[in-house]
Symmetry: C2
Subunit: 511 residues, 2 copies
Amino acid sequence: MKTGSSVKQANLKSERNAPLAMSGEEFRVLGHQMVDQIAVFLDGIRERPVTVASSPIALRQLLGSDELPVNGAKADELFTETSRLLFENSLLNGHPRFWGYITSSAAPIGALADLLASAVNPNVGAAVLSPVATEIEAQTVRWLADLIGYPRDCGGLLVSGGNMANFVAFLAATKAKASWDIKNDGTAAAERRLVAYVSTETHIWIDKAAELFGLGKSSIRQVPVDADQKMLIPALISAIETDISNGLQPFMVVAAAGTVGTGAVDPLPAIKKVCERYGLWLHVDGAYGAPAAMLPDASEDLRGLNLADSVALDPHKWLYSPIEAGCTLVRDKRYLIDAFSHRPAYYNFNGDGENDPINFHEYGLQNSRGFRALKVWLAIKHVGREGYEKMIGDDIRLATELFQFVEAEPMLETGSHNLSITTFRFVPKDLDSGTAEGSEYLNKLNTEILNRIQKGGEVFVSNALIDGRYFLRACIVNFRTTTSDLEALVEIVVRIGKEVDAELRSATIAV
Amino acid sequence: MKTGSSVKQANLKSERNAPLAMSGEEFRVLGHQMVDQIAVFLDGIRERPVTVASSPIALRQLLGSDELPVNGAKADELFTETSRLLFENSLLNGHPRFWGYITSSAAPIGALADLLASAVNPNVGAAVLSPVATEIEAQTVRWLADLIGYPRDCGGLLVSGGNMANFVAFLAATKAKASWDIKNDGTAAAERRLVAYVSTETHIWIDKAAELFGLGKSSIRQVPVDADQKMLIPALISAIETDISNGLQPFMVVAAAGTVGTGAVDPLPAIKKVCERYGLWLHVDGAYGAPAAMLPDASEDLRGLNLADSVALDPHKWLYSPIEAGCTLVRDKRYLIDAFSHRPAYYNFNGDGENDPINFHEYGLQNSRGFRALKVWLAIKHVGREGYEKMIGDDIRLATELFQFVEAEPMLETGSHNLSITTFRFVPKDLDSGTAEGSEYLNKLNTEILNRIQKGGEVFVSNALIDGRYFLRACIVNFRTTTSDLEALVEIVVRIGKEVDAELRSATIAV
């Protein structure tokens, strides 16, 4: 250690004065400040608009100068400004009256779990980098499997959300069913082209998967659904038979446990039989609906997800986790490793043989991985299976109530009710929806109603297309929602519906 | 609203009593508790072992019962237990003596940013779901581009880390260069097979990309490197010419701005010329090294990343963000949208034409997306460009010091020094490393030294293979590291090296 002193700078010897360094005391003061601001926000969330729906230009102006800052700014002032900016200019999916898209009202315990995960900062890509976090994630996977009645010895991992949860399963299925060395030779080397089957109601993740992963969208068959938006088994069989006779290789059926539009659950046991007959991989997209399988009165169709080769479920959809928390479960974990594993020379992750470390980078697309599992694990420990049963059961009861409120309201028409999704639309009393003209008018009317609702900030719903008809859609995955909130929704839709109807009619007359 | 009352439960009318609900006051108390525990952890991090390297079995036992909890448990007790479990059983990449793999010492401000992001819970998949968060992410992308000298009007998004950042660019390049409708027809429809070029030092993400996205690993050409681990231009040209004459379609060169092994930077301007000549997409994997391009004394090779069609850089690697924070930048954002966009019927994300909302789900693989950008944005605002210049510059100066310490230590041999990575190995005085036997012994010796270091918890380094030789590797992306820590590293390696050497020699004699 004789040389080197010439380049040493006094400030590096034992003290960096790094601008991002923060003492425990500084962290404590800033942390309390942030927690206090969030506490006030949580208490007042009901009084805020669900969204202020500002224009992008207005929001950009709120951000101030767009120049990269050269000098820094004090953390406490930044925190106060930034908290306020976010509280006042976000769509609040934690609001009791948010039922748009499928994003949970996030549990506050999840935010504190994310804080802890981020402070400790484990990289859950490999056991050596995240010893206990890896074990907690593995336990979370077992518990999620238990929760929905899936075999607890499955493989699985936490991912960013529904797309990725389904992508992981899709890639595992592709590898499992390709008869050639697809990892080396690519999809082009197939003797017979691989074909997958989904219902027409499937979320667009399937198109994205086919487009990005080399099969191409034309390898996806959309099987028609019945009046309840469930996949038609005879149509599925017929599509498979046609492809086989055309020299293609059916390899996978994607069934929904809760479609994104109306929450429909495909007939999983019947689909499983078809998969067995033709040797196909059954993947269940339960990103939204899988947790409902834990309920004592879950349907046989839904419970059938325990027959699947793989399941996607998103704790940030119906287990009230903050974003991001998705999960893929694969019955036989070797298929995950087959699809995703690498063991390059510069990694040194393997165990000493005494027991078996889990390296999650071998289970999915990511290499570095955050500790998403912590928020899911802590919430499960905090409320237990019973707590989830109550919350999910209550969400479903509320969606049932909403359906009944709509039925009782002469200006509204029900569309569907599955799991915790209820769809409905505004129908003026004198309108004949049976004609093409009437039907078109209703779509236009309800589209405009939705636009106003989404900008008004009183409540927030989204839309679903059922057989070409445009419905408003409330998806209740929100532990803050009460009956009163749904009564208010009905009232608001009727009020806005009347307004828009009057405006559209006078505009027509004016023309 | 006349019916529906029969199914109403008293507890749903205006109060859910949801087990995950938490009042502001409860959140405040629990939040302060968590912040206080983390503050103590941060202050004491230097005194902890870097890792305790427990076995998976021992860790599983620490978790207690593996049964899914039926009932819940109190949050405050859970927090105290869980914090302790994590503090005591994690690999602490925030420790001043952690230089293994490439994971930043995470800035405490980043953890508080993650708390805020998680509490507000924006879904940054679409502007309507995350009005201000979307704009903050877009500004973060512009600032990151500015920081590394890339055009600020590029497209880009935050992703989970290096794999995903590179995957996004890989998929954009594939779509851009495919002459057929690859999204519909798949890779199999290519008239000429697509081929990509990387150096032999490229991170394995490239294999995973080729394997998962349908091209197959055999479509990747590994171009040899020179003695400094930089891609050899003549070899690149020759590989391209060979493929063209064999009827294949070269489409992309992946160059490294900081290889994962030794931090080597490929000659980017020279590679750009080759890409122009053959019409290839230039992607720069700067996941680790790109931020160093901001330094006044950055090399011309490194600054050449501003010529790339796309760049990957990871704020959680060298901008001291907590995991996960990766980023892809694409010069022309239309290529991102071409590769990833969908506009299905059940989304209602489009603007009203007055201005242009950004929907990040159209820029990458994810649909639901967390607010990763906040921690990056807040840190940039907190320390500014100047703060990052100082911290990154200091990391490089420390790596230079380490190299000099190693040079001055007779028992150690230097391997390489690029950016903030220094590699070295233990070489017993009497050993002839020129013989095959000696070389093999050195690899065995240093492998065992690394294993002991990684289990010992005093310091944490990883390894690099250079030309078949096994080196210890310290990557300093750690604003807590000081010169004294590196002096300690040298001392510890020499001590353990001597021990292991003596043991290996006596074992050989014993046999």
